[in-house]
Point group: D2
Chain length 288, copies 4
């Protein structure tokens, strides 16, 4: 019921009287049934966000192109950014990894069992280690080694694969390389990284070692869109794990794995369900 | 901004095309600005719920009576149950206690500091112990002792106070008496109890002792509307606390206090913000 | 450092003056270094528990048999139940599953990556579905179908595999069959089940459906030793997950998977690290 | 049982064979019953920590001075730092506040009900606002206003009160002044501050506003010993609270209050139960 014949409409614009009605009035006019809806109105910034899941009319044919044309007129009045997609659409997601496989393994399990409604046209790694895992899931594995000298070239290859895969999303599932500003720009808004700390604490390399040195009693993971500043992109979701003095860095690494996996998977879920709006360096996540 | 001149409209009815538009279309027509909105459509039961916070028109006068009349026509079409209230309304809440004071103390603090936007016209107890705490907050304290013989009479007094206080809500903040079916009926939908277990586990008396006997590794608290069956009413919210083998019953009692306080306060907050819909022995809580 | 040459000594007995010294004094006498130690003294029941990780003497040879003989004398004085094992010992664990694979997949990942220091000599299932997953990990998969008529015979086969595998532990990783009292007895203290509810709430079949019907706001998972009463065995650890009205039973099922996996893995970890003492229908878990 | 006639012995020293036996052997020799014990051996730093709760001998008289003398000899052999105290000892705790009263209110409740086994000889504030709350609990309230010019003098007065109160602990319960390095030094190891962020994230002023600007999805609180660097002292415990895009700074402030209270109270509990060892800029917390 929830997915069959269901579409998702998201929109955002400056706050003005009538934005909600522009969406809901149109849906009613088109005889579309609203199955789920959330709004957020940022009273500080004067910005409005809406996400609606709706079902096509039960009778008659639904002409999506005509629906779009009709909505575009309404949206234009409010200068809305908007997007329409099928609930059942399975976006292509390219996964990037290095040697750590826990996030990859978790994502592949969710992919294989349908918990994550995605296609994975490619796994890209700067190491050969995780080839066998990819093979078992029948997913092409691209080993693109990287050195300081070959970084530009490697990123070019990487970008080509992303494009040829029609990837709507790139997931850095513990990919241990810093992307160039150019590639960050190209991937803006459609690349999610998992960082193994509660950002903004412990940016950069070896956050568990930093956490150990500092003696914190909670560690965590942060899933965020990448941008040009390392570990500074808009945060989508965060997870947390209690620790204590007895955890050496290696044990923090081990302790943190589960929360990294769950946090990254949740961020991807939010993204593909069109719940996440990037906005002023932050995110609005509707209906999470 | 959030509270000033803001109203809350809630409605529920059988699922039908047009229910959303009946609300949002009307608000737009009345030039009311939608500040916050959530819906839930129960696809199994075919039932629809909506909660909207909206602001009066910035220009012109807002005639609430006329607004109500106008909406009533639309609501009738869908046989909606609906309610309109001011965001800034502070409902009268009668608190009932016995001897344990942690929940009362917590509620009084939130009341005193404005975190809970309520008035407390009366505190009722079957014991005299908490009089001084009430006095300090300048709240009338009614000591209504109870024995098997006087239960009916005591409940009659209690009910009179609730009525004379114009109480919109009664909170059983660790009131250690079982209410009669008659009183339960009278209070249906407007009396919240805190039970110190993760219901449906450990109903009835001494849940922490039951938890100790069972050796559970998590204890918790459940805030629920009361109904005719002990500890069976619709659950509003629950909280949880990790424990271990070293906690004897008295220590579970101590450990559980914080989570009881927080859970009860949260339930009251949801209720007075009109987020909770009772429905089929359960609750829908919008925008929590 | 933590595992190399490290042994684990656990003991329990009635509370008496001298029990701690019986252990620590002996370790010192044997020039063994105490690396980690916890005790619990149940003041209600008058029972004492201790777990020590210690390192062999740095100089000289360590004769484990002689160590055992020496300790046995001391332990006898207090009628201690005790056990000595290598920290690096990898016990044989037989995993039983039906069709749901999330716990199995998770355990196999932790096994494959060394996070769970176990060997898995056999996976037993009443369905053929998870053969391929077992194959990929090079683990023998025994498909033992079961019908009311063949239950006794199936359990006999199952028991044979457990014995031939020298299994120290049997894990019911969502095995959807009730074991016979006889098999429960045979497996007493060495079979861990994961039940997908916060026991004692929602025992028996379809706990997520029960949770949906009840409208709880928290679901969870309970890892416990099996005993003769269904879902009544001593609880090792529990996990919890917040849910709301929008989660239908299927979604509770999906939501609960992660917490089931993590909770079961944690219980196994505690068990193999010799942290868990079964006692009066409950558990003491030291140093968790 | 737990508190009556129970003492707490804590000790730490460089890791060496025999440290455990030095403690447990002596307790046995003195016919003292070990009721609770934890150790931690920091394998990286080569440092050992132990905390024992024990009961005096049931027969005969217990001479504490003699006990101390006897233990001092053993402790000296290992160059142990050690401390002996009564379980039932209620230390004097001076509380410092500014205008925010939630932590103070919470601590006073726990004090009044015996949940926190402390005496509060003085409440010190740079503002007069919380006098009435102190009065109700019959606790002397010292209003010590502060300006840039009078800071040194104010701190001198403050220090005098701390000394005259025989305060074993000073709690900065949202005291919104930075202490001078000199006062920090004087209070080293016996002053606990609550900072309303998950340190090391969001040090300094207005952490909730910083959290809002950054768009984090979790906020929290950190209880730590103060030292000379602002918000950098050894962390005792931390708490966390989920938030989302809809929380403006004022709402984060409101959301965070409960977790601040609970986190601070827990840190004080650990401290007065002698569970916390400061060590290399971090803490070891035994048996928490």
């Amino acid at each position: 019921m929830k997915q069959h014949d269901t579409l998702i409409l998201t929109a955002s614009c400056e706050s003005r009287l009538g934005t909600v009605d522009a969406v809901t009035g149109y849906l009613y006019e088109q005889q579309c049934y609203v199955a789920d809806m959330q709004t957020f109105d940022d009273a500080r910034a004067g910005y409005f966000f809406i996400r609606v899941e709706f079902r096509r009319p039960e009778q008659g044919e639904f002409n999506e192109a005509a629906f779009r044309d009709g909505f575009a007129v309404r949206a234009q009045k409010y200068a809305m950014d908007w997007e329409l997609s099928e609930r059942s659409h399975r976006p292509n997601v390219v996964i990037m990894v290095s040697k750590f496989d826990h996030c990859l393994n978790d994502l592949l399990y969710r992919y294989r069992t349908g918990q994550l409604a995605i296609e994975i046209p490619a796994i890209i790694s700067n190491h050969p280690d995780l080839q066998r895992l990819a093979d078992w899931h029948h997913i092409p594995y691209y080993h693109l080694p990287i050195t300081p000298d070959t970084k530009a070239e490697q990123e070019a290859q990487l970008w080509r694969i992303v494009q040829e895969s029609n990837a709507e999303l790139v997931v850095l599932a513990r990919y241990m390389q810093v992307l160039s500003p150019d590639l960050c720009n190209k991937l803006a808004g459609r690349a999610i990284n998992i960082h193994h700390s509660l950002l903004p604490g412990f940016k950069g390399a070896q956050p568990y070692h930093q956490a150990y040195a500092k003696g914190v009693k909670l560690v965590g993971a942060t899933a965020h869109y990448i941008n040009n500043e390392l570990d500074e992109g808009p945060i989508i979701t965060q997870g947390v794990q209690a620790v204590d003095h007895s955890h050496y860095p290696e044990e923090l690494v081990a302790k943190g794995r589960d929360i990294e996996c769950v946090t990254l998977a949740r961020a991807i879920q939010y993204h593909i369900e069109k719940r996440v709006f990037m906005y002023r360096g932050k995110t609005v996540v509707l209906g999470s």
